[in-house]
Symmetry: C2
Subunit: 216 residues, 2 copies
């Protein structure tokens, strides 16, 4: 299990990685506004962040600030994009083309960050063997062939819960290395495949927790 053998950095908290994504968005905004340099305080104030947290998160990856100047917006943005693997395009497989799959297909945020849906898969014969907005929609049985042909490493899983494990197994067999799972199912994957579950009702439950707490 030498899964982390190329990993020379200290263990980075996942929340830090998530915040790097947020910082990248903020820096893109500043760049669009013509801002050349920014201090961690200015960054924090403008985007409602915590400046100590910003400094701590960045410190995992190096020394980016310049005393008396702050951060160079373009340079820091490029550096964070490189760290996040956003300095090149990732072809992505979208599995499941129902309501949620369609919404994710049209979600503009993915493309903006370099994720390009390169192929869509579904098991409904009425939906497959056609193109949508230039993207081919294939039958699930063609998944292995198409994922390999397109060198796809990342998949978005948007199938019903009961179909999720079988679809995930097909993805892993096809060589997928990371799965963003929207199906409300706990998947078991090979250990070298990165899994990220997105359970939209969990997000609502953190909100109801705080509301319930206030009414008691």
């Amino acid at each position: 299990m030498a899964r982390r053998s190329t990993y020379r950095l200290p263990k980075i908290p996942e929340m830090t990685i998530r915040r790097l994504s947020v910082y990248t968005r903020c820096l893109l905004q500043l760049e669009e506004d013509g801002v050349k340099t920014v201090s961690s305080q200015e960054l924090a104030e403008r985007f409602n962040l915590n400046s100590a947290q910003v400094r701590k998160d960045l410190a995992y990856f190096g020394e980016f600030g310049v005393r008396g100047i702050g951060y160079y917006v373009a340079g820091l943005k490029a550096e964070l994009q490189r760290i996040l693997g956003l300095d090149h395009e990732w072809p992505v497989a979208l599995v499941g083309f129902g309501n949620l799959g369609s919404a994710l297909f049209h979600y503009k945020g993915f493309t903006r960050q370099g994720f390009r849906i390169a192929a869509v898969f579904d098991d409904d014969p009425a939906k497959v063997n056609r193109e949508v907005a230039g993207v081919p929609v294939f039958d699930m049985r063609d998944l292995g062939r198409e994922v390999k042909a397109r060198n796809i490493q990342i998949a978005i899983l948007a199938v019903p819960a009961e179909a999720a494990q079988a679809a995930a197994d097909q993805l892993v067999a096809a060589g997928i290395k990371a799965v963003l799972n929207f199906a409300p199912a706990r998947l078991k994957l090979a250990r070298d495949v990165r899994l990220k579950d997105v359970d939209l009702s969990i997000e609502l439950e953190t909100l109801s927790f705080y509301l319930a707490k206030n009414v008691r």
Copy 2:
């Protein structure tokens, strides 16, 4: 700012709250399978969790385990649901009825956890003043009236980024206390309104971070 005046517990990490949601799902599953009691080890093994983490998370809220027996499945489930505010139904307003809004409308996970979309709002005249699956769809200009009439405290925001702040301001004015925001925009809300941003591309970026790290 007596926002936390009813708050008698130590500060609970948000990740703990999220995991309570996961545990609740596991316990529901065990209950369906007819399992009456479960140890933290069994729970961890069956659902791929960390048993020490389970015990630590639960310890924030009390002593739930019984020595030699473990947890009573039904009792712990009910307790966690109460803590999460899931022991009653929450009416929810869905704002934005485009691709993503429609997917969220049909997302079965919400209903299962006690969140009921009680009203939908959109500013497209072609979409409003009708019912979808028994739920009324209103014009945005009726938001204040309908949110108050239905005593809605939670809103899901699924509008384009450029419309998000204005819609959020309307929600806050209508008395909404918690917003689950899917729009790729950083919102500024009153301090007593709980905001939870869901940025779907951030989830993909945590995956690309790990993939990028492995290829370097």
